[in-house]
């Protein structure tokens, strides 16, 4: 697992899905500089969705790697 002192995401809820794993509802934000016609500056974007964590996987590690692959967490 990538060492993070503070989790860069928030788990909103979890639900056991028998035979499959744990369904996790999560949210994560990203800040980026934008230069648009109506706004110029730092812009915050927030993503909320769900992800199934397979049986036997650590929830935090799996979700972290998923969000790294999805570019919401930059190394």
């Amino acid at each position: 697992m990538v060492p993070y002192m503070i989790k860069p995401f928030t788990i909103l809820a979890t639900k056991d899905e028998p035979n499959f794993g744990t369904l996790v509802s999560y949210t994560i934000s990203d800040r980026a500089y934008v230069d648009q016609e109506d706004y110029k500056g730092i812009q915050t974007s927030i993503l909320t969705s769900g992800l199934l964590i397979p049986l036997g996987e650590d929830i935090d590690t799996y979700l972290l790697n998923y969000l790294i692959r999805s570019e919401w967490i930059k190394l």
């Binding site: 899905e17 035979n19 927030i46 969705s49 769900g50 998923y66 999805s70």
Partner: protein, 305 residues
């Protein structure tokens, strides 16, 4: 105790023919009627409707001409004895599966020879007639879809939070699959499968963008868009040697987006009013249901061509 009847079993004591159960016989091929939906968005969606006349409930089997996912979505009695059979399919191919329909004999199928074996039950109903091309089961089993239909998430900035402005199709393609195989299956010239779409999945990505303008009079904006897709389970089958490979996946059948817009104003930190707007439809969130393994039966369409 019954002192009459007929029972044929195989070496594993599995029933092949019985006067106590009604065997399925080939009624004919259902004819393609129209397409409910045909789009290349969301990984491709095809919903083909076929029709056939049948006085009892039809049992359809279909070919899987491509490696995409197929399933029976519905069977509806639309006339006195006219049934519609809707087959869903993922992917971009317009190749239509062939639909073979089986049903109980019941006098609606005419034999073309007077020689053969006919089994009657105690009410003289036909349970088996060798002249009517009975269904020959070549393989069977059950399979589940992978829980999560979409393995990735859209990167930051991919989806617009403002009033569902993005075409989310590239980010909501149900590509997840799972596979199983059945060994020792005799060679099939044209595999056909009976598989009902039971499992359902909804996946959504909600993007939110808060923003603020002004100094003495500050205006706070909150724009939210929830992009979603609704999927049904499907399968594809292919034979390799004596192994039958069964792949289960998802077919998108519906999609949309829900958005909200909120605006609040403050003057020197004191609220001076706000407004909000909303539109679209409410989804339910990121769940898959009816996920128990779904049964499938495989036969050979070439026996009935």
């Amino acid at each position: 105790m019954t002192t009459y009847g007929f029972l044929a079993t195989n070496g594993n004591s599995q029933v092949l023919i019985s006067s106590k159960t009604k065997n399925l016989h080939f009624l004919g091929k259902a004819k393609y009627a129209y397409a409910v939906q045909a789009t290349n968005n969301y990984g491709g969606i095809r919903r083909f409707v076929y029709r056939i006349n049948c006085i009892t409930t039809p049992v359809p089997f279909f070919t899987t001409p491509t490696s995409e996912s197929y399933a029976i979505l519905r069977m509806t009695l639309v006339g006195a004895d006219t049934w519609e059979i809707e087959i869903i399919k993922s992917g971009y191919s317009d190749v239509k599966p062939e639909v073979y329909v089986f049903t109980e004999a019941n006098g609606q199928i005419t034999p073309n020879t007077s020689y053969g074996m006919k089994v009657l039950n105690e009410t003289s109903g036909v349970t088996y007639d060798s002249r009517l091309r009975p269904l020959i089961v070549k393989a069977g089993g059950s399979i589940s879809q992978p829980y999560d239909p979409i393995p990735g998430a859209p990167p930051p900035g991919a989806l617009d939070s403002s009033e569902c402005k993005t075409n989310a199709s590239p980010y909501l393609i149900p590509t997840a699959t799972s596979s199983s195989s059945i060994a020792g299956v005799a060679s099939l010239v044209k595999p056909i499968v009976n598989y009902q779409s039971i499992s359902q999945a909804q996946k959504q990505f909600t993007v939110i963008m808060p923003s603020r303008t002004g100094f003495f009079v500050v205006q706070n904006y909150l724009r939210t868009s929830s992009y979603w897709v609704f999927c049904r389970g499907g399968v594809s089958i292919a034979q390799s040697g004596s192994t039958l490979n069964v792949t289960s996946g998802w077919v998108a059948v519906d999609y949309s987006c829900n958005w909200t817009y909120k605006k609040e104003s403050t003057f020197l930190g004191i609220g001076v009013g706000g407004s909000s707007r909303t539109g679209g439809t409410w989804p339910f969130e990121n769940q898959s249901i009816n996920m128990n393994p779904v049964s499938f039966i495989v036969s050979d369409g070439a026996l009935y061509d």
